[in-house]
């Protein structure tokens, strides 16, 4: 058995921050329903509202602009479903503009919701990205019509780490009278974010990507922006998301955000050093590789690399045997027959997408972890290439 474990799949999910774990354990006995007027309810409510204030202040929002939800996917589903809702006979004040503009590299929860709406008659436009995964701002602007309800662009991509100029894109949308949503699940807690400065109308975030618990996220909805609940039947979250509040989840998210505000500033430079060491190490030791994503406008914790002649799932599983956890854009690992839609959207040839892995660093990773990865990865690639039909030792 391997002597060391290195978890380098932090864009998939993160380990709980020890402080979050403590806060959760401490909060476990809080069982009151925040909607109840008695003391048990009031305690749960005050804890939930304190968490809401923490989340709001972290992104420069007002507490009433934060809706706790069950996941980033739920938040994204909500925004697209209400803004692209084809119904014209309800009392929702969204207006008649239903056209959705989004991009080819969004998370499946955005793309599939858009696809579903499209099937019901909502017009949807997917804006392409360049070879680095940067959204084509001109094409985006051209796509927005007087029928466009919302423009949705991911702030930082989960697979390749590319960061979009959200402020500029939001302005383009607003200039044409459309609302703007950003899926900031991978950006919150890694990049400084202020919703007023960005000028976004909706923003999605998730707890488990920032060392918080799974099953809780938040949706920022700017005051005055039309809204309609996706989950109905309760007055919770100011009538915008029915269902008894996940008090424990909200407390966990609040604590995770609090810890991010203390720790994220120092992390950036640390990750840059680690990522650079990984890149340089790979360039020095492994021939025929390609880095995917933007060389600079990219999350400092995310490195996506393709290897000629080596299939991603094999790489992932050989690394797993050494105690190293990464992910891959290969089709095999996903159970589908197509490799990563993000890599393909950036124009990466299909075989290079099959041969890609993503290393995503987290707060617990060290330079020793990077050295451990580099002590194993080149040998693994050589070994896989040695039995590959398409890559021969030179």
């Amino acid at each position: 058995m391997t002597s060391r474990f290195v978890y380098a799949d932090n864009n998939a999910t993160t380990p709980l921050h020890p402080e979050v774990q403590k806060a959760l354990i401490e909060a476990l006995p809080v069982y009151g329903n925040p909607s109840s007027m008695h003391g048990f309810g009031r305690e749960a409510r005050s804890r939930t509202e304190a968490a809401r204030e923490t989340v709001a202040s972290f992104i420069g929002a007002l507490p009433e602009e934060i809706i706790f939800v069950g996941s980033g996917s739920e938040a994204n589903n909500t925004v697209l479903s209400i803004m692209g809702c084809p119904a014209t006979d309800c009392t929702c004040d969204r207006g008649q503009r239903t056209h959705i503009v989004t991009t080819t590299i969004e998370h499946p929860c955005v793309l599939e919701t858009s696809g579903c709406l499209s099937g019901r008659g909502t017009p949807v436009t997917l804006v392409p990205v360049d070879e680095y995964g940067v959204v084509d701002a001109e094409r985006l602007a051209d796509s927005i019509t007087d029928q466009t309800g919302v423009v949705s662009v991911m702030m930082a991509n989960n697979e390749i780490g590319t960061i979009q100029d959200i402020k500029a894109l939001a302005k383009i949308a607003h200039d044409k009278g459309a609302f703007f949503h950003t899926d900031a699940v991978q950006a919150v807690g890694k990049l400084p974010i202020n919703v007023r400065d960005l000028g976004v109308d909706f923003l999605t975030l998730s707890a488990h990507k920032i060392y918080g618990p799974k099953g809780v996220g938040a949706l920022y909805v700017k005051r005055g922006v039309p809204f309609c609940p996706l989950i109905r039947g309760g007055h919770q979250e100011r009538g915008r998301r029915a269902g008894t509040e996940n008090t424990l989840g909200a407390i966990g998210l609040g604590k995770a955000i609090e810890m991010r505000s203390l720790e994220m500033a120092d992390e950036e430079s640390r990750f840059r050093v680690m990522k650079e060491r990984l890149k340089q190490g790979l360039v020095d030791t492994v021939p025929d590789i390609w880095f995917n994503g933007h060389p600079t406008a990219s999350l400092s914790n995310t490195l996506n690399v393709s290897f000629a002649g080596a299939e991603g799932e094999s790489i992932l599983l050989y690394l797993d045997l050494e105690g190293i956890a990464v992910s891959t854009g290969s089709a095999c690992a996903s159970g589908s027959l197509d490799p990563s839609h993000v890599l393909l959207a950036t124009g990466v040839p299909i075989e290079r997408a099959h041969g890609s892995i993503r290393i995503s660093l987290g707060r617990e990773n060290t330079l020793e972890d990077v050295d451990y990865i580099m002590s194993k990865l080149p040998g693994i690639i050589a070994r896989i290439r040695d039995m590959s039909t398409v890559y021969r030792r030179k």
């Binding site: 094999s314 599983l317 290969s330 089709a331 095999c332 039995m387 039909t389 398409v390």
Partner: protein
């Protein structure tokens, strides 16, 4: 961390993945037959080469190279072990089920990896017949692929019926056909009726 108690696949797959048998490493291997199937664009490509005892018609040696996932690598490795020492006629009949069972079964979405291995072997055997001046022995597969996602042919559907499949669900369970895009469902149901009638009615 305690997640290493079980692996993504069976222990046998892991064994073949970690210690692959009969990998073709030499550049000057003198093969009597060679077959290559799959496509790197689809994520799997397999090369199988054989040396044949011409008197006895037995596969003396079988080597391979594979581009693909763990189960693709393990499938080709297991195949090479199965067929060394086998008569060509028997080796020609080795199917994905035999490979999967030698590996202690594969997950449903990985069966197609093992389908490629036996195809590559049959291509190598046919290549041997061509090269050794016995073109009359080449068996061109008369089958036709019905399910392109899972590479399932009409002959495999017939086999499944002979083995007891009577409904589309049973057919899907046995062959894994019609489990991806579903385009072949109608044809699968038609063929199911045809073969049930042919053999059992």
């Amino acid at each position: 961390m305690s997640t290493h108690q079980s692996w993504a696949y069976t222990d046998k797959v892991k064994d073949h993945f970690v210690n692959p048998r009969n990998v073709l490493r030499e550049d000057d291997y003198e093969e009597d037959g060679k077959g290559i199937v799959g496509n790197i664009q689809c994520g799997d490509e397999m090369l199988v080469v054989i040396q044949v005892d011409k008197e006895a018609g037995i596969i003396k040696d079988c080597k391979w190279r594979t581009y693909g996932c763990a189960s693709a690598i393990a499938s080709t490795s297991a195949l090479s072990e199965i067929v060394i020492g086998m008569h060509l006629d028997d080796a020609f009949k080795v199917g994905p089920k035999q490979i999967a069972s030698a590996l202690g079964q594969l997950p449903d979405n990985k069966i197609h990896c093992s389908v490629l291995g036996d195809k590559a072997l049959r291509a190598a055997i046919n290549d041997y017949y061509e090269r050794s001046g016995q073109p009359e022995k080449v068996i061109r597969e008369q089958s036709r692929i019905v399910c392109t996602c899972m590479n399932v042919t009409d002959l495999e559907i017939e086999d499944a019926v002979l083995e007891g499949a009577r409904t589309l669900i049973e057919l899907q369970e046995q062959t894994k056909m019609s489990t991806v895009c579903g385009k072949c469902k109608d044809e699968a149901e038609t063929l199911l009726k045809v073969y049930i009638k042919k053999h059992f009615q």
